[in-house]
């Protein structure tokens, strides 16, 4: 799809497929076109060109048939400020044939003690959770969540992840946008990384990150990378970026104990104490950095 706002091309030839019953994460920095892409799928705006099908329907033309089957959580707002949380959900529940019990749903999102509190007096995270509850209220087949955990505290984020996992377990498809890599890595069956309105990577999180092992450590800046490489197994790669942050990668995949010993011995020879030494696999953040040359959350 392509979507322009005046001279600005928000979506520049994006193609994405989300399979039924899977969690699909659209990952990208602010301004990458995540919200525009999801709002085209929700039927809020028409793409300038391209074809969009949601559950086999055209979101613009078949809106009446599609709306009852899809749950939507907007990035912000959408709820009248003076209305108590419980009353809002009860009203929305009257729009659905077989809605969830609203008291139960409030409990599930941790708002049962806030049912009588007006929306405007809820915390940002509580407002998000009410909006999330509204999205799943009508037992939808597919849920769109636009940055569902933005502004949530860690516990609320975990509760939201549990809910997404439960939805997936029951065969509900979830399409969410996020700029948190850990969220995408943890939840998604399928990740689409977008930047400047284009997909720059598309696949299962494990496939995108690959299995390459990494060893990172911090030390004084300006250590001699050439001599470090000479001390390591032949297929290793090493770099310092940014200054004082060292990264050693083994494309074959595994960081062997001998490699760790070689690194620490090399440091000891130079009287250098490495700190924050970590052995891990590549993250989506690394993938994004590699593809775009930029940090995801810049």
């Amino acid at each position: 799809m392509v979507k322009r706002y005046g001279p600005v091309t928000a979506i520049d030839g994006l193609t994405l497929t989300a399979r039924r019953g899977e969690v699909t994460a659209i990952l990208g920095p602010n301004g990458a076109g995540k919200t525009t892409a999801i709002e085209v799928c929700e039927g809020y705006r028409a793409a300038d060109s391209g074809t969009v099908r949601v559950l086999g329907l055209d979101p613009a033309r078949d809106a009446a048939a599609l709306r009852p089957r899809v749950g939507v959580m907007l990035q912000a707002g959408g709820i009248p400020p003076a209305v108590p949380a419980g009353e809002y959900l009860r009203t929305l529940s009257r729009f659905h044939k077989k809605p969830h019990d609203t008291a139960w749903l409030l409990d599930i999102v941790g708002l049962s003690g806030s049912a009588k509190i007006p929306y405007k007096r809820l915390s940002g995270g509580q407002q998000q959770r009410l909006s999330l509850a509204a999205a799943v209220l009508g037992r939808p087949e597919l849920v769109f969540l636009d940055e569902p955990t933005a502004g949530m505290d860690p516990q609320a984020r975990h509760a939201t992840w549990d809910l997404v996992t439960a939805l997936k377990g029951d065969g509900v498809g979830v399409i969410l946008t996020t700029h948190f890599m850990d969220e995408a890595e943890r939840l998604a069956d399928h990740v689409i990384i977008i930047d400047h309105g284009r997909a720059v990577a598309d696949g299962a999180p494990g496939k995108l990150t690959g299995s390459a092992g990494q060893l990172r450590f911090r030390a004084v800046a300006g250590l001699d990378i050439e001599s470090l490489l000479a001390a390591l197994p032949a297929d290793s790669a090493a770099k310092e970026s940014p200054a004082g942050h060292y990264l050693i990668e083994v494309p074959s995949g595994v960081i062997e104990p001998a490699l760790l010993a070689a690194v620490t011995a090399w440091c000891a020879d130079r009287g250098v104490l490495p700190s924050s030494l970590q052995i891990e696999s590549r993250t989506l953040e690394d993938v994004f950095l590699e593809l775009t040359g930029r940090e995801l959350r810049s």
């Binding site: 707002g77 505290d153 029951d170 509900v172």
Partner: protein
Amino acid sequence: MTGAASLNQAPTTGRFAPEPGAAPLRRMVAAQSAFETRQLLRNGEQLTLTLIIPLLLLAAFSLEPLISFGGGYTRIDFLTPGVIALAVMSTAFTSQAIATGFERRYGVLKRLGATPLSRAGLIAAKTLTVIGVELLQAVIIVIVAAALGWSPDAAPAAIVVVPLLILLGTAAFSGFALLLAGTLRAEATLAAANLIYVVLLGVGGVVFSLDKFPVGARSFLQALPTGALSTGLRDVLANGVAFPVRDVVTLAVWAVISITLAARYFRWE
């Protein structure tokens, strides 16, 4: 209260199996209308506008000889039709414009667009809300007016013509309310709707007779929706006129114009 401290149950698989479907349209419209009515009755400024100001005007101007109405009316017989017209304007125009403007600003209309309630259903709910509030206003105004000695001089046809005038006025005002709310920012809508309300309260034949204005101005003011509604209601309720043709036609024309413009220019986001 934040986060897990208030989580009593973990969301677990087995409760979320898809079973989607829209409720019958009537139930959706009734739910939305009840929701909007409760919001309106909870909102102090809206209540002031729709109930307190009309009742204060009715009481103050009928009890105190602040102005002379002339034309052989008692004060309350002159005032009651004008105050009913004001009440209709305050609900269908001012209050609705402000409420809808802020709904648009807060993304409420956008979010409703993702529910099974269609736009036509939402318009129907808003219409029901306005008519419900107007009925409440009418009952209260009639009771207070009766207590103040109101004795209408009306032909039997008034039982049909008064609701007709009010419905046409409501349609005309609602169209303008949605036109304002759907094109201007919420704050601009608030300011414009209140300003128009105050001006038409003064020159709409509500408490000051249009007969006091020069002839040219009078024709112009009676051609405005508020002037047509107050004059029409006064003709029917105080002068025994069976059918005020000119005012009915005026209101019908305004209704067509305002609703056409609103349908054309209203922006949901």
